[in-house]
Symmetry: C2
Subunit: 198 residues, 2 copies
């Protein structure tokens, strides 16, 4: 399609991508929505590339959130590679969104990798003994159990949860979005959540 | 000594004790300082009595502290028995002092009881193999080791630490003081301290 100045501007506003990228995406795409999709995929790839570089992330912020009246509190460490990014508005905003997410949804772990092996094993065992699974052909069961466990864990794993403010994206996507914007790897290091008298 | 109105007033201001208690303490005491001591002991006993009642403590506050620049954070739960005390200035002030203490001194545990048995055992073993201890008569060694371990642990146990703002009293005394003032048991339930990139 043709990339008009108005559409390029709208696309830039929507995706945060640069002028040249937006123009190219519109030219390549069949529709405006298609251009958005192209840019999102490109951004996702860029974020994954930054994450894959595994640059040391020892800068960042410790951020806290105390629920009205002091009956709930969250402490969270968000890391990045440079003090420059740590002090950026995007990074600070992300830290705020994350503490609110933890306060609201009570996740148990940051990522799948943090789930202890014994928890996985127990969940796998439960899923395997499910009659629905036992009915299926034996060579497919492992795969089905993997899927079930992952789905159950997703609600308790911060980065896999749907973001409370926009359930269409996961918290992990929200983080990747800031990685793409800042060009720096960002890692949710750890969090603690206290509910009064629990 | 004689209890003049002026001295009773001064004593009340200093100790926070009631009029009758102050008058009695001054009458019984040989000096003003002596009266202060009498009241402090009485207060201590009252605090211990309240603590011994072990009334359920499920009210309170979750309080946080973030060090300038977000490079250090503390989350702490302080419990009491009633919402009324939880909302009092004394209680809120205590919560603030405690998060500052944790931020400044990095304790590992709330009380001696929270120190894991394996940590104690390791420390006992180290202390026992100390040549100074081995020189002492065998029947005294256990006691000497107990003393050494307690002293070493005290720096890492919040309630045993000297209060950063007044090293003459321990953090435990600070808590007892608020127990005496509010007449309600107060329990430091738990805390978490994050230092950036540690």
């Amino acid at each position: 399609m043709e990339a008009t100045a108005k559409e390029v501007a709208r696309l830039r506003e929507l995706t945060g991508a640069g002028f040249a990228d937006c123009k190219k995406a519109l030219t390549d795409a069949k529709s405006f929505d298609d251009a958005v999709k192209i840019l999102e995929e490109k951004g996702q790839k860029r974020a994954e590339k930054v994450m894959a570089q595994e640059r040391e992330t020892r800068e960042g912020l410790i951020h806290s959130y105390i629920h009205h009246g002091g009956n709930l509190g969250v402490l969270l460490e968000l890391n990045c590679s440079t003090d420059f990014v740590a002090r950026s508005d995007e990074f600070k905003t992300l830290a705020k969104e994350l503490v609110m997410q933890v306060a609201g949804t009570d996740p148990k772990w940051v990522s799948f990798d943090d789930v202890p092996e014994e928890v996985r094993a127990q969940m796998r065992q439960n899923a395997m003994s499910d009659p629905d699974v036992q009915k299926r052909p034996e060579h497919l069961r492992e795969q089905i159990v993997d899927g079930k466990v992952k789905k159950q864990l997703a609600t308790q794993v911060l980065l896999e949860q749907p973001w409370v403010k926009d359930e269409k994206i996961t918290v992990g996507n929200l983080v990747k979005d800031v990685i793409r914007k800042t060009g720096e790897n960002i890692v949710v290091r750890r969090f603690t959540r206290y509910a009064l008298g629990e």
